[in-house]
Subunit: 263 residues, 2 copies
Amino acid sequence: MRLVYYLLMEESLEDFLERAQRDFLAHISLDCVVFGFHAGQLKILLLKMKHEDKRALPGGFVRKDETLEEAASRTLRERTGLENIFLQQFSVFSDPLRSDPDARPQSLVLAGVSPEKTGFFAQRFISVGFYALVEFSQVVPRPDVLSDTCDWYNLEERGPLILDHDQILAAALAALQAQLNYQPLGYNLLPRKFTLPELQKLYEAILGKKLDRRNFQRKIFSYGILRSLDEKRTGVAHKAPYLYSFDLRKYQKALKLGLQGGW
Amino acid sequence: MRLVYYLLMEESLEDFLERAQRDFLAHISLDCVVFGFHAGQLKILLLKMKHEDKRALPGGFVRKDETLEEAASRTLRERTGLENIFLQQFSVFSDPLRSDPDARPQSLVLAGVSPEKTGFFAQRFISVGFYALVEFSQVVPRPDVLSDTCDWYNLEERGPLILDHDQILAAALAALQAQLNYQPLGYNLLPRKFTLPELQKLYEAILGKKLDRRNFQRKIFSYGILRSLDEKRTGVAHKAPYLYSFDLRKYQKALKLGLQGGW
């Protein structure tokens, strides 16, 4: 597994292009919006494209022998080093003009790759969007063959993205915000033990607005998904806040039936 | 518009196969689970395939110049006669073995179409699933070029479906059941005026279980999405029940923020 992983990492651009034509289904791509939470901020994982200023969502293609979900998991394993990432398919992006099918990616042109080798990119792609929620501290970001770097960015400081990736990101964030209204959220983004202010900051970062502390606590307690631990956060200057974890049985039930319970 | 529609209807199988290769994107299809509600039963729209006993969900392919949503709307317009159908993309079906890429549909083999003409079907398809909610009485079902009939079926009496269409139908029903837990539902399925027992029957048909009348009414009223009309259902034998309609402003808000309101 590890060996295969490093072999892939060291693949040249030319080898990748040759392999792409042979191994991947035509017309179908996937893009992943990877959310992490760190120091009170919502972060997203972006690639800095080679030879151009724009950034890109981690993406990939579907091998002829794998499902779309397997392709997304493989892509994210290659970019983050993580197995078993929480992945949710949220939308499909199919505007015929979302990319120019006759254009080759700028990074390939500038890398001096000859036109006959970049044929795989010169076609229309319908891209399936996935969002992923990961624990920030576990990720070891790694660039792909088309990019120089892979890194975390704050949402507001991400700069311009390629193609329709800003639209894909906005749709993923909207899906996450909608989820806050009817399902629990946080298990995949927070450490196992967290304080109520930390959970509130996560909600605020996703919603992009401040919440009233007392209303937040009343509402979140009413869902019955938190377990109060007999433990306090140590090493903080002020009054030490209590730690909580999710009650996983109730969390899973609320994921399935919604926060207000089923019929 | 009408003219184009009837021309399409009269297209021969051979013409369709020739056009498919030229006009549609490879590898991508769509399948639509069309739900209607009639006489207290949840119905789905199915095609009876030519030359075989199995039934199929209405489906289609994506033209090179259209989005996936446009392709789904076009497909449903051709099958139902309706414009502006409520459509929701709910999952993507991508098992490499979901259809045998070397096999031609049985209906084409039995129709005596030569193998070199059925090439478009002899490939792997990743299918995007949409569910549609329509008002039963408005639909005029029409078969496509591969099918003999297009008709409404009760969920339990539908018989075997082709390929993985049973799985696609089950996933659509699960998505609808989940929606009942956090969003309003019924506007696209019921006539404009309805009684509370009619609304309860719709919920029961989707959930596949009986609900307690008083609990149902308490819960549904608590969402504040119903408008009580000063009118009773006439022409019924027993005590005439009051009519209701949805308060569309509140209904739309609850669609966006969930039934318990946003943060």
